[in-house]
Symmetry: C2
Subunit: 330 residues, 2 copies
């Protein structure tokens, strides 16, 4: 099948760019130092590629992602880097043979893990992002409580989400020192082998974490592209020009095909004005005609992929594969 035969809008992944991104990260973090986060791509076919490059352990954000990964035979060591109040589905996964570890940051989530039949946990520590995670000074107490309840505490996690996207590398370095200082101190109280943290924006400067939870590096987006990382745009949304006016043109790629929290997407050489449900209005850099195809680069990869049922793997003009985005939903 040719790219020109795809119904638009369609997620398109350049095979060579994806392979290069996966290889670069695998080479940078060998020997289990990479625990790829599947939330960015929600695709077990892509995770299988990551596994082929050496990753046996993965990070998930939802129970559905955990179930899908285990179902695809990628359940050797799955971390749900998120809190859950009902861990029964996770317990069922563990009983079926997957290795399941869940983040806990409170008495309630420890109790939920116990009740649900999950055996292993990480203590989730707040390292500066106002989101989940206990206060660093509470981590030791929670670890004790978890162990008293019969859980294995494998270590700590703490996501420096307030740092990973900062464009200035020196600022990232400075802030991560403080942030990971909190996590390391908590780890001293908690024990265990694992200090899990990091993301695409800090994969090579987070020297405290024993494993990095990076995800966006595989497909990339325009927000991360500003950081000057050695990862290229592998994903775009293929779109068709459907209307041309004097000063602008409209393509069939809108709010239901793009995550918009990081702002408008980009089209090379053109100025994007705004998106509507099924439209992208832009001032093109060169004349365009109805029927022309364009590549739209999303500002934020994760919520973009989550709108699509599949991604199409392309090599030149050929569509060489179709991968289900099979980890969507909850």
């Amino acid at each position: 099948m040719k790219i020109s035969e795809l119904t638009t809008p369609a997620l398109v992944v350049e095979a060579t760019a994806l392979d290069a991104n996966l290889r670069t990260m695998a080479d940078a973090l060998p020997g289990g130092r990479l625990r790829p986060h599947v939330k960015a791509h929600k695709c077990t076919a892509l995770a299988t590629r990551q596994a082929a490059l050496g990753s046996r352990a993965f990070t998930c954000a939802t129970v559905k992602e955990m179930e899908g990964m285990a179902g695809a035979g990628l359940g050797d060591d799955l971390l749900l880097a998120n809190e859950v109040v009902d861990a029964r589905r996770l317990g069922a996964l563990a009983r079926a043979g997957a290795r399941v570890t869940v983040a806990v940051d409170s008495d309630a989530t420890i109790d939920a893990a116990t009740r649900g039949g999950v055996a292993e946990v990480l203590i989730d520590v707040n390292v500066g992002l106002p989101r989940c995670g206990c206060a660093p000074e509470d981590a030791g107490r929670l670890a004790e409580r978890a162990r008293a309840a019969g859980l294995v505490v494998r270590g700590v996690m703490g996501y420096e989400g307030h740092i990973v996207g900062l464009e200035d590398r020196a600022t990232r370095r400075e802030m991560i020192e403080v942030s990971m200082g909190l996590l390391v101190r908590a780890h001293e109280d908690v024990g265990g082998d694992i200090i899990s943290a990091g993301g695409t924006g800090t994969y090579d400067i987070n020297r405290w974490a024993t494993e990095i939870q990076a995800g966006s590096y595989a497909l990339m987006d325009t927000a991360y592209a500003k950081l000057g990382l050695p990862f290229g745009h592998a994903l775009s949304v293929l779109s068709t020009v459907i209307s041309v006016s004097t000063d602008w043109m409209v393509a069939d790629c809108g709010l239901k095909a793009l995550g918009m929290d990081h702002g408008n997407p980009s089209v090379e050489g053109s100025e994007v004005w705004f998106c509507s449900d099924e439209h992208l209005t832009m001032a093109p850099g060169a004349p365009m005609r109805v029927g022309d195809r364009i590549r739209v680069l999303p500002a934020h990869i994760d919520p973009t992929v989550a709108y699509h049922a599949a991604m199409h793997i392309v090599d030149g003009d050929e569509v060489v594969d179709r991968w289900e985005v099979d980890l969507r939903g909850w």
Copy 2:
């Protein structure tokens, strides 16, 4: 099933609020003056309710929506209020018995309709929103061209999308006069029975359109709620509190459960700080505990619904029905 048994995040629709919204609009626009837009809810079960209140004609934004509506037996008069370059699937729908009308705004889209086997079109006219639609002075020529190609031109459409969301009613009134003036003039050149326009924000002040393409009124969102319309919030995203810190708490409803182009969602009595992929961080108005459930009101209904596989119809604490969001994708 009780609401408390739903896996979160989950779309929840209050049956009584939905019924009231549908009834209010049906009463305001009787006798075919309402052509509900299904893009806001993407749900044939909900469209069936609209049909039961008198709507035989519907508006769609994608070919997939057209196919789904016809497949659900709601194909009496379907308007694709959008341009397409490849109309073959629409032609197949028409041959299978649906009445299919498609918007055209250029020679290329007229040719596409002809090639695809679509028999009926509306001339889409730009009435001020920089998106699709021909220049008003070009509408007559396009109608002639379409008729020369053997197409039936049913009239014109023109969406005043730059007006429907303005909070001040007087401003909406003032601007719609200008906007619809353009459409009416184009209609004089085009002919046909239909002047299709309007949305939830102009449903009762657009006195020029013969039919109103409103959609958001059924479920509503916080953006439209600012307009003081007689439609209440019928939809919310049910979410579970998973983490509580000193100054904030976190619920399991994030960027993949919410359309974000209109900004943050709202939680009554609380201050929403930001959303991440699977998290909503907020300062609650009253103390909350892990496991508590909250209702999150989206800022923009259309791209919110498009993330979910189903909506749950509730009456008090009971889940009385589950409706597939079956018109997603393209």
